[in-house]
């Protein structure tokens, strides 16, 4: 069982992510569940050290606007489940995503740091930290010469984004040094995100899929990525079922939701294989 050993950085993002060194000596970016029922995240949880220093109260950040149920817990749970599924499915098809993990957070460890107190103890979602990444905008202009070796990675990402329905919130980053490898991180909004219900997934399935707009920036990548469709064979049904089973019960992904997700991924896989063969 992985546990968080050392807090290295609290990012203070909307998802209250933080970086730890874990008991396996690897570094992970961790997203934990929020304490259910807290209607807002107070400024000290946001980690606004400057506001505290100046005695200025930062505005309370509320999650109500992003959460249809008005429940921050639901918002966070759905986000953890989505990201874990995306990373596991991505790993299965060799898409460039970070290594996923589950890190167990202990209450007294969380209580020892003011920024972490609003987070729930228990299993948290972790993705291995990849250092030195930057967005496409900061890549030097001659980087195209290095892009060729990313074609396969981007093609697999294109498939992953269809399989887990990553809409317009794709976070694609590149190593800021040769060989400029591409990685996709933070898939919390995939598979419908916090609005996900079995009905919504069924509605998605009844429509047609589309390739994520991010790939329009990469003309080198063939869309549809016919050459790489073979990797979908690695998504065997029992392995996909194991992915869903690996979601900790604390994240409140009920059976109906898990079945709907499994059905969605399998359906999209079949559809892609039929379309691209």
């Amino acid at each position: 069982m992985l546990t968080a050993v050392r807090l290295e950085e609290f990012y203070g993002t909307d998802s209250l992510a933080f970086r730890v060194k874990a008991s396996d000596h690897r570094r992970y970016v961790v997203k934990a569940r929020h304490v259910r029922g807290s209607g807002f995240i107070p400024p000290q949880a946001i980690g606004d050290a400057r506001a505290r220093l100046l005695g200025v109260k930062a505005p309370h950040r509320t999650r109500q606007s992003q959460d249809p149920d008005g429940m921050p817990g639901r918002y966070a749970d759905a986000s953890l489940t989505s990201d874990r599924i995306a990373l596991l499915v991505g790993t299965m098809i060799s898409a460039p995503v970070p290594r996923p993990g589950i890190i167990h957070l202990e209450r007294n460890w969380l209580n020892s740091h003011p920024d972490l107190r609003e987070l729930a103890d228990g299993p948290a979602h972790a993705s291995e930290f990849i250092p030195g990444l930057g967005s496409r905008d900061v890549i030097p202009s001659n980087w195209d010469v290095e892009l060729d070796q990313n074609v396969s990675r981007l093609s697999r990402l294109a498939l992953l984004y269809v399989l887990v329905r990553v809409d317009n919130d794709a976070q694609v980053f590149f190593e800021l040094r040769s060989p400029w490898r591409v990685f996709s991180v933070d898939h919390g909004f995939c598979l419908g995100g916090s609005a996900r219900t079995p009905e919504l997934l069924a509605q998605f399935m009844s429509g047609s899929y589309s390739w994520n707009q991010i790939f329009s920036f990469f003309p080198q990548v063939d869309l549809p990525p016919v050459k790489h469709v073979g990797c979908l064979n690695w998504l065997e049904s029992d392995k996909l079922a194991a992915v869903l089973k690996s979601i900790p019960p604390e994240w409140n992904c009920n059976e109906a939701e898990a079945d709907a997700i499994l059905n969605y991924v399998e359906t999209l896989k079949s559809r892609l294989m039929d379309d691209l063969k």
Partner: protein
């Protein structure tokens, strides 16, 4: 579980450009505070343009002052939180972070990470192929695996291999090794086996899975990949190995690699990836 707090001491040598060097790490645990400063200053001297002697003076002075401050625990100003929030001049302290490591271990680790510090004796010792091979052998021994009669040899500069066994129990273990900054790093282990008679297959699979389990218990951070390739004609055995590995590797701590994914796995997990420092 005791939780330590730690901060990094920064010397802002140019407040206009906000450039700084790390001049120390502080660990606070159960009311005690310990400060560690770098052993060598040449690297940060070259970066900052300030002489190594001056930086050393500043660091040792700072260490003495901080340790002096923390002797009076009754004063609330003598806490990491307070100085992190209030020191706004050229010496700054990062907001305290937490760790569940013991203070000594944490200090050693932080000194290694922030200053690249290891002792001279250790640095001298950690050079050369002989050391790499010996340490690799120790690593295997620590993995509680029995390797009697096996020969350990260096295959390439960055690889060591254990090959041997007997005709009816051939084994081949290969490790990716890297000597970086005098520290030997073991990137991962690949295992393969060749089968003689089909009757031996079951035993070999059992043997390999046991060894993987043992290695994993001792070195949980080590990426282990089982690449089931080169077993054409032995379809049943391959499926059995796959099934066995599947049972073992239900979590992400080890991976069963499809032959087609071997290259990706090596790329993602083995090359230059810190996994285990002997």
């Amino acid at each position: 579980m005791t939780i330590c707090k730690y901060s990094v001491l920064r010397y802002i040598f140019n407040e206009v450009t906000d450039e700084f060097v790390n001049l120390g790490v502080v660990v606070e645990s159960e009311g005690k505070m310990e400060c560690r400063v770098p052993r060598k200053y040449h690297r940060i001297a070259a970066y900052s343009g300030i002489s190594a002697a001056e930086l050393k003076y500043i660091a040792f002075d700072l260490q003495a002052r901080l340790e002096g401050l923390f002797t009076d625990r009754d004063d609330p100003r003598n806490s990491l939180e307070f100085i992190a929030s209030n020191w706004r001049n050229a010496i700054r302290v990062t907001p305290p972070r937490i760790s569940s490591e013991t203070p000594g271990l944490l200090l050693d680790d932080l000194a290694g990470e922030f200053f690249g510090d290891i002792s001279d004796a250790e640095a001298t010792e950690r050079r050369g192929k002989r050391y790499a091979i010996e340490e690799a052998a120790k690593g295997f021994q620590r993995a509680a695996a029995s390797f009697s009669g096996l020969e350990l040899r260096l295959v390439r500069k960055s690889e060591a291999a254990v090959a041997g066994g007997s005709v009816d129990q051939p084994l081949f273990f290969k490790m990716d090794l890297a000597l970086k900054n005098g520290v030997l790093r073991l990137g991962g282990i690949g295992m393969s086996f060749e089968s003689g008679a089909p009757s031996e297959i079951e035993r070999e699979i059992h043997d390999i899975t046991l060894r993987i389990q043992k290695i994993h218990q001792v070195m949980p951070s080590l990426p282990i990949g089982v690449i089931a390739s080169g077993m054409e004609g032995l379809t049943g055995a391959k499926a059995k190995l796959m099934d066995r590995a599947d049972q073992l590797f239900t979590d992400e701590d080890a991976a069963l690699i499809q032959p087609q994914q071997a290259e990706e796995f090596a790329d993602a997990h083995l090359k230059g990836n810190f996994a285990f420092s002997i």
